[in-house]
Amino acid sequence: MLFDTLDFAVFLPIVFAIYWMLNKGKIIYQNLFILLASYVFYGWWDWRFLLLILFSTFTDYFIGILLDKTDNRQKRKLLLWISIGVNLGFLGFFKYYNFFLDNFVNSFAFFGSEINPSGLNIILPVGISFYTFQTMSYTIDIYRRKLHATKDFIAFAAFISFFPQLVAGPIERATRLLPQFFVKRKFEYSMAVDGVRQILWGLFKKIVIANNFAFYVNEIFGNYDQYSGSTLLLGAVFFAIQIYGDFSGYSDIAIGTAKLFGFNLMQNFAFPYFSRDIAEFWRRWHISLSTWFRDYLYIPLGGSRGGNLKKIRNVFVIFLVSGFWHGANWTFIVWGGLNAIYFLPLLLMQKNRNHLDVIAHDRTLPSFKEFFQIILTFGLTTIAWVFFRSENIKSALEYLSIIFSKSLLTMPYFYRGTKLIPILIITILFIGVEWKGRGHQYAIEKTGFNRPKVLRYSFYMGIALLIVFFTGQKEPFIYFQF
């Protein structure tokens, strides 16, 4: 079920009520109930998906125990590779089988040889890219002796399937989330209120911002050959806003929901569009995934140590794999490659760790230089987003070529009689709120704390009403397809 549906609105309070009623009993009851609720949540899409996650859970549970039991280096390596093989095998089959098959067929056709293998009608299990990475982090961390295996199957299964973050992250590390299942959660008023506040903000970002821009993005990208460069530029910017609202909104709902149950999940987005360079952007965008790749791929490859050639190789590997993780299409790989090209100069000039603090942390507004840096970084990422959004590379290149043509200097097409003007006004206010709250976990975490309560609650009420009045078209979470 999706977070912005009536099903979830009914599911959550029921689960919340029963969960805290079980608080008086043993911790195993809390964990077991979380596990059952998570399976109901996941099975709501398709009960067959449960078989896959159960298999993945059992595999890594037993591999974890075996890894812990043996000191034999070869045996440990073998067990680790079994875990990685099983998880990536499932991911590869469900997500990439048809992609590889199509490319295999196309390459034969390129050489004039037609082959007709039978494709498979494979349903992509929701969230497979997320939970396989989460479960792999468990076995890898045991292998690296950062973590001991748990014999508590219920806690482990609940950690893997924890419903707030199961289908679209954040991708949690076992070292961070699993220990929270071994401690009885106590209801904390401030945490619960914080959770509700973050859910509200997440719903606003998803429903008001992302869903409303989706309408224009779909229209522009779907008919790009009919519009001017200026309109296509707007379309690309709208998509940049849409994907941020969609994904960071979902993460906020996930993190907020977890707080209602006494769990702390990691921050997944730290205001990435206020970044001053690409390196900072990638420290702030989809943090759980980028740190996963850093820790489990980039660093084992050598990271930024070694000669320039090695650094270049490692950066490209990371970004191309990250692109490929997003989808079985060459556009995602190109998107990853483009980001690698953006990132490399900073790494090679050792300027990739220039901006580690919060932008303008001691000022109300950014300096002119910082503003220019923000615009430049946003512009570069927006160009890359065109590949991410396009159906194929050809249409992405055509899209960009129209942007960078004379028609860029014409007035963009303005959708009369739609909600665009009020949405743009709301978006400007949204950017203002995000800017004001850029030093916190999420924008409205501390908004209005120095004002009378009635004003603060009126602000929350305003957000809730905006959600109702500006509900956009129903759009699935973009990252669900991953």
């Binding site: 805290w20 008023y189 509700v196 929350y460 009420m461 009403l465 109702v468 009045f469 509900t471 129903k474």
Partner: protein, 308 residues
């Protein structure tokens, strides 16, 4: 936990009160008033919307709207008749396709429910909401937020529902009759769904009943159709359609069926096989205007079929 639940519940209650207030303000203060000289109201779907130009018929106002089934016509007509006691005649479009299976789609399928319920849902009764909830709960729930958006928009428009796209003459230009006729053979091959839209009939009867109780004269009218219309729509229901018209006329005293289905309009006067274009509408509306100004002169009609 208690404090959290109390505060959360309090927040939700205040939220619901604000939302409900907006609905009630719209429900009780909505303005459906039309100009005093309009004593004849036309409702229906796109056939009557395209056929009857109320600008050339002084005492008539056309609130037909494409894509509306009788359920939505009924909700609108009720408010129009309540707020306009000077309306003494109601003409309801009564055509073959309104008794085909497609009317079920027009009543509760996603696209139509999401388009029409936000406009009229505020004026629904509980029975109608329950009915739509049985048929399409997901879209009904989703349409609620669109309904709230519509209500807020109407607040800014002074609650004048005539500005809410509730119907009017639809001017069409050009003609593609020939292209449509070419497609008939292809369409005849499609599977027929012969199910009868009982719910559409139910709301038609509610509309007739409501009007008659207010002592409003009610006419069922079939707007001009091209002679190949039924073929194109893959409908074979002319006999049952005529029987239904007769049954309704017998059931409701005073109800008359005016069959202008064969009104002589050349192909050039049709936009497609079911809708008149500008020229066709001018011709038909001109006739209708004379007929109305002659005080519904019966001699102009022969056995319910128009005599030009």
């Amino acid at each position: 936990m208690k404090t959290f639940l109390l505060k959360f519940t309090g927040f939700v209650v205040v939220f619901l009160v604000i939302i409900s207030s907006l609905i009630f303000i719209n429900r009780w203060c909505a303005n459906f008033k039309v100009a005093g000289e309009n004593s004849i109201l036309v409702v229906g779907h796109s056939h009557s919307a395209c056929a009857i130009n109320d600008e050339v018929i002084p005492t008539l106002i056309n609130k037909s709207n494409p894509g509306e089934s009788y359920l939505y016509n009924y909700l609108k007509t009720r408010k129009l008749l309540e707020q306009n006691p000077h309306i003494n005649t109601l003409m309801i479009e009564f055509s073959n396709d309104q008794f085909s299976a497609k009317m079920n789609r027009w009543t509760w399928e996603d696209e139509f429910l999401l388009r029409n319920f936000p406009k009229y849902g505020t004026f629904s009764d509980l029975e109608t909401i329950r009915f739509l909830n049985r048929k399409n709960p997901k879209s009904l729930t989703k349409s609620f937020s669109y309904l709230m958006q519509n209500n807020l928009k109407m607040l800014f428009l002074g609650l004048d529902y005539n500005k809410n796209n509730i119907g009017g003459f639809n001017l069409l230009e050009g003609s593609n009759v020939a292209q449509k006729i070419e497609k008939i053979e292809e369409k005849r091959k499609l599977e027929k769904d012969n199910s009868f839209p009982v719910d559409n009939l139910r709301y038609l009867e509610q509309m007739i009943d409501f009007a008659l109780k207010r002592e409003v004269n009610v006419y069922l009218i079939r707007s001009p159709l091209h002679h190949r219309f039924l073929d194109y729509e893959n409908l074979d229901n002319e006999d049952s359609f005529q029987r239904l018209a007769k049954e309704l006329s017998e059931k409701y005293e005073g109800l008359k069926f005016l069959d202008f289905g064969s009104f002589p309009i050349p192909d050039e006067g049709f936009k497609d096989l079911g809708h008149l274009n500008k020229e066709g509408a001018a011709e038909f509306s001109g006739f209708l205007s004379s007929w109305i100004s002659s005080e519904f002169e019966k001699e102009l009609l022969v056995e319910g079929v128009i005599q030009k």
